[in-house]
């Protein structure tokens, strides 16, 4: 059985962040996915939501949950990432002052996603947007 979820993320709107992760968390619980798996998946999805909200004008998140894995694709319209390798460094951030004042923008988003997923692929066109794809396998921790 395959479950698919779709979310629209509005850039700059921090009043809704967490709603995609929350919906995915509830769905995974209802599918009896192991709590350890849910914990790490939720971190990755939340960080991906925050990245779109903090940097892009809008984004779309597609989640596919099948028997053995969860696949997530987030595509946004935004500034893109000039240097993906640098963006993966813990502590490196291009977040605005307003975003940092809220406690975001510490440069941990992409590292947190990498740490909590089994496969991660990031592609970007500076000036256009970014696509982040990741997978978590349910039989792996």
């Amino acid at each position: 059985m395959v479950t698919e979820l779709h979310f629209l993320i509005h850039g700059g709107d921090f009043t809704k962040t967490g709603s995609a992760s929350s919906k995915v968390k509830k769905t995974l619980k209802s599918l009896n996915i192991e709590p350890k798996q849910i914990k790490r998946i939720v971190v990755a999805i939340y960080e991906a939501e925050i990245n779109v909200t903090a940097h892009a004008s809008e984004g779309v998140m597609n989640v596919t949950i099948s028997e053995h894995e969860i696949k997530v694709t987030i595509t946004d319209k935004g500034p893109g990432i000039e240097n993906i390798e640098k963006a993966m460094e813990a502590g490196y951030s291009t977040a605005s002052k307003e975003v940092r004042e809220m406690g975001f923008g510490a440069g941990m988003g992409l590292p947190n996603i990498k740490k909590n997923t089994d496969e991660l692929e990031i592609s970007s066109v500076p000036g256009q947007g970014t696509t982040v794809r990741f997978k978590c396998y349910f039989d792996k921790i």
Binding site: F14, G18, S22, V42, E47, M102, F104, M108, K115
Partner: protein
């Protein structure tokens, strides 16, 4: 130690009105950087912070934290409070500083 015990011992304000305070506290986490909490806080820890916006509630809920304590007499934004109510996260307050509150909690959990 349960959340209710902590409230009573330190006279904490309880902002949420309909959330039970019976969760057992298994630790504490201090950070005002949200990705740090997302990456490192653990279930049933009490989060001590000065951030008052709605994402505090979202994170506390996603990480299944025992409670959130706002320090220095800070009050939560209205939507933070509402979200804590709906996610059943106790939202507490103290006049103490982060250092003092964390010190006291650490001491209570490590006796």
């Amino acid at each position: 130690m349960k959340v209710a015990d902590l409230v009573q011992k330190y006279g904490l304000s309880v902002f949420t009105k309909n959330v039970v305070l019976d969760k057992k506290i298994e630790g504490g986490y201090v950070s005002d950087l949200l990705s740090d909490v997302m990456g490192n806080a653990r279930e049933n820890e009490v989060w001590i912070t000065l951030q008052t916006h709605r994402n505090v509630a979202a994170i506390a809920s996603l990480k299944d934290l025992a409670a959130v304590i706002l320090v220095k007499e800070l009050v939560p934004d209205q939507d933070t409070l509402e979200h804590c109510e709906s996610e059943e996260i106790p939202l507490l307050g103290t006049s103490l500083s982060t250092f003092e509150m964390a010190g006291k909690l650490w001491s209570d959990l490590n006796r």
